[in-house]
């Protein structure tokens, strides 16, 4: 009884803390947008030429899949800050001093993550009702057929997402940007495994909680069966995509999912998986022990401070460290050491040209700041990719190696525009003269430098062979990526949104050479350098405008 109350209070407090933030409204808006995307045809479920008749069963299934597919990606980044918040607010240290076990804590955090994601599913469910009422008023509404896929697929998939977020936060190596990027690959892998079964049309209807954790395979396989009955020539083609180049020409009557025992059990098993993941997280959770929190970082040498020496000095002998500290104490009451005055005129009436000159040291400082904190092997890999870009055949370098070379510094770019908030240095920086434009532009320039250096092998290669079209595409990529990072960082205040979006975009666009999405210009056919260069300018201006407005309204 007592444990139940403690669990309730922990989940409640964490939940309330989140939903009372402005960012929660944005997540709700995102849920509504997903509903709108279905309504407006931006998210399309199709089986070759077929789509379902707009009844409750079809709408419920589509929105159910939207929830389980997209919210498992976006939702992860929305809730992956639960333990971090306790660490930052230092509430964690208070909790660590209570009898709460690690397993209990990670389980409660999983539940509060789930509560937040469940609200998003709830908003999506309401959106589905609204769409049915206002967009398809001719169709009779069947609440069971409409809501059961949304709630069952959405909730069972998102409970795993909630637990995975806690597991990632508990593992030091996955806590930061590496985890944010790896999760995108993990999500793509899970979707791809389900998609393979859809393409083969060989879903066996058995227990498959892992292979089909979004539920897309289960839904599609039942839909495929119905279309087969209608059209024996149908070849199992199916897609669930953003937009559609060719409108569907045929419709079929989708009567709704058959909730087989295997399907229900598979979904129920995901709750057990979530509990197991949350308990697994407890094994790695450091219980806010600062000594364990940074175990993977470089060990720092301990320096005995003079203040500590003072405390242990009882009978100092002349010339001993303790005697030195006593001399220190006496210095403490002596006048302060001399400070060389700076020229006032130099400070107050710095001309525009001198300010421009001093922009370069600021860029240098921003660049050094961004490059700090990496292990030696990070630089080794970056150097290897640089050489590979230079030494590989041009086609391989442009379409392959550069894609890796510009994924490698993603964690450097993701800090752009967020560092001041992450480390609470904003008040120190923004009280400096002309800080907003100077510092922002310096940060951006440092980001472009990172791109130019890490992808420099390809840039030089293209220059040597006088491939100016390729060079223009490379340059557009080099200015676009940091611009995207800066804008997202400044606007969201968090690095994880760039890390997630960039990785997903990197996968869809440059890796698959999709035109209009290939910001690296990996092939001549997929390159749209002018558009990305223009987008870079707009993004930098947006970042500037956002920061200026935010500081003006502080």
């Amino acid at each position: 009884m007592m444990r139940g109350r403690v669990l309730y209070q922990m989940v409640r407090a964490d939940f309330l803390e989140r939903v009372r933030r402005y960012s929660f409204l944005l997540t709700m808006a995102f849920s509504l947008y997903l509903g709108y995307a279905v309504y407006s045809g931006q998210l399309v479920l199709r089986l070759d030429e077929y789509r379902g008749v707009d009844n409750s069963a079809w709408l419920g299934s589509v929105i159910g899949l939207v929830g389980s597919v997209w919210l498992t990606l976006i939702g992860f980044y929305i809730v992956k800050n639960s333990i971090q918040r306790d660490r930052q607010t230092r509430v964690g240290q208070i909790l660590a001093g209570t009898p709460i076990s690690k397993g209990f804590y990670t389980f409660s955090k999983t539940l509060s993550n789930f509560a937040v994601l469940a609200v998003m599913v709830g908003v999506l469910a309401l959106a589905s009702v609204a769409i049915q009422l206002f967009h398809r008023p001719s169709q009779p509404i069947n609440l069971y057929a409409l809501l059961s896929p949304v709630l069952i697929f959405g909730l069972s998939a998102l409970v795993v997402t909630a637990a995975l977020a806690i597991l990632f936060e508990s593992l030091p190596v996955l806590r930061g940007g590496v985890g944010n990027i790896l999760y995108v690959f993990f999500w793509i892998f899970l979707l791809a495994s389900g998609a393979n079964n859809i393409a083969k049309g060989d879903s066996n209807g058995g227990l498959r909680p892992f292979a089909d954790y979004t539920g897309i395979d289960s839904v599609m396989s039942q839909m495929q069966s119905q279309v087969h009955k209608l059209d024996p020539q149908y070849n199992n083609g199916a897609s669930f995509s953003i937009g559609s180049l060719h409108p569907t020409s045929k419709t079929f009557l989708w009567t709704g999912l058959t909730w087989t025992p295997a399907l229900v059990l598979s979904r129920a098993m995901l709750f057990a998986v979530a509990v197991a993941l949350s308990l697994l997280a407890a094994l790695f959770f450091d219980r806010f022990d600062p000594a364990r929190a940074g175990w993977f970082k470089q060990k720092q040498p301990r320096i005995i401070l003079k203040a500590e020496v003072r405390n242990i000095a009882l009978a100092p002998s002349p010339g001993s460290p303790a005697a030195e500290t006593i001399a220190d104490l006496s210095r403490m009451h002596s006048p302060a050491p001399h400070l060389t005055p700076l020229l006032r005129a130099d400070l107050r009436t710095a001309s525009r040209s001198s300010v421009r000159l001093r922009f370069i040291p600021l860029v240098r400082a921003e660049f050094l700041l961004s490059m700090r904190g990496h292990a030696w092997w990070w630089y080794t890999v970056a150097a290897g990719l640089f050489i590979a870009c230079l030494a590989s055949p041009l086609d391989a370098a442009r379409s392959g190696v550069i894609v890796g070379a510009w994924l490698w510094p993603a964690l450097i770019w993701s800090q752009m525009g967020t560092r001041e908030e992450q480390y609470s240095t904003g008040t120190l920086i923004f009280s400096a003269p002309r800080a907003v434009p100077r510092q922002l532009l310096a940060t951006y320039t440092a980001g472009v430098l990172v791109a130019a250096i890490t992808g420099g092998g390809l840039g030089l290669h293209l220059l040597f062979v006088r491939n100016f079209e390729g060079l223009a595409a490379w340059a557009a990529g080099a200015i676009f990526i940091p611009a995207l990072a800066l804008a997202l960082g400044v606007i969201t205040g968090s690095r994880k949104f760039f890390e997630a979006l960039y990785t997903a975009w990197w996968y869809v666009g440059p890796l698959h050479h999709i035109r209009n999405l290939d910001f690296m210009g990996t092939t001549a056919a997929s390159s749209t350098s002018g558009a990305f260069a223009a987008a870079a300018v707009l993004l930098v201006l947006s970042a500037y405008g956002w920061r200026k407005t935010k500081l003006a309204n502080a």
Partner: protein, 301 residues
């Protein structure tokens, strides 16, 4: 060199009024800004540091409105916020070099200045150590150093001695006194002893309004003859707390020595010399009671 705060108000989202028509004029020297938690000190500091904008009123630096032209003040401003962070992977020198670049300082001059500042705040030995491994007090000293980077004419320090050990606190107080010659220093704190040691002027703020602005001497003078000390038993202490305004209690072998503030002496009490803590409490209590006392009128120093 002067700083004029004219009828400044600040209302946050949600309607909380943090400052209400606050006015104050400052000239070179150390102003100790005293007030209870939530009085509006940090809001005032943020406005003066051009971080936050006032809802009403204006702040003039040498006659120029800092809301319209903040860079005029920023180029001569040193600001140590109450809460600030550092970049954990940089060492103290690198972090100060970074902030010197942000402030637009010349590289050569700032390098020399950084060495001197690190010596000043007693961090020379650990200057190459990543800031992530610094204790709270050491980070605070880095904060003090960065505030002095540009040799500021206006130095604003918000709770600067928080986290410092007693030795470093004394060191910092001495530093503030030494720095105060040709600049305006605003020291916001709730530690009265810090103000007692350094301030040439004192402003007392409560609920966003100015309660008093005077020299320490005039504040003490106004409360002269209103501070009493008597000895009571532990059992009588609670009763005394209910009857009188008590500024401090000290347990000794003969009982509890109680300092009482009041116009008339309690029975058996003797008059003692007032200290700044007595004056501060006297002003605050009279302000809360709605009594406009001579000692606490904003007469200006």
């Amino acid at each position: 060199m002067n700083l004029a705060i004219e009828e400044v108000s600040k209302r946050y989202r949600g309607g909380v009024l943090a400052l209400s028509r606050f006015s104050l004029g400052l000239k070179p020297g150390v102003l100790g800004l005293l007030g209870p938690n939530g009085a509006g000190k940090t809001t005032l500091m943020s406005i003066l540091a051009t971080i936050t904008k006032a809802t009403d009123g204006r702040v003039l630096w040498n006659g120029i409105d800092i809301a319209r032209d903040p860079d005029v003040l920023r180029s001569v401003l040193g600001y140590l916020p109450q809460d600030f962070g550092v970049y954990p992977n940089l060492n103290a020198v690198e972090f100060l070099e970074y902030l010197a670049a942000v402030k637009g300082l010349d590289a050569a001059a700032s390098r020399r200045r950084i060495q001197e500042l690190l010596e000043l705040v007693n961090l020379t030995d650990v200057r190459k150590r990543p800031l992530g491994g610094f204790s709270g007090g050491m980070k605070q000293r880095v904060g003090i150093a960065q505030a002095l980077l540009n040799d500021p004419q206006l130095l604003i320090v918000d709770e600067p001695t928080a986290g410092l050990d007693p030795e470093e606190r004394v060191r910092f107080r001495n530093l503030l006194s030494d720095l105060s010659g040709e600049r305006i220093v605003i020291l916001s704190t709730h530690i009265v002893s810090d103000v007692e040691a350094t301030a040439t002027d004192i402003a007392i703020i409560e609920k966003g309004t100015l309660v008093a602005h005077a020299t320490p001497e005039s504040l003490l003078l106004q409360v002269e003859g209103r501070v009493w000390e008597c000895v009571v038993s532990s059992a009588e202490l609670n009763k005394a707390k209910q009857e009188f305004l008590i500024s401090s209690t000290t347990r000794r072998s003969d009982g509890v020595h109680v300092r009482i503030l009041g116009d008339l002496p309690p029975e058996g009490a003797r008059a003692v010399a007032p200290n700044l803590e007595d004056a501060y409490l006297y002003c605050i209590s009279h302000h809360r009671a709605g009594v406009r006392h001579e000692a606490c009128i904003g007469t200006g120093a």
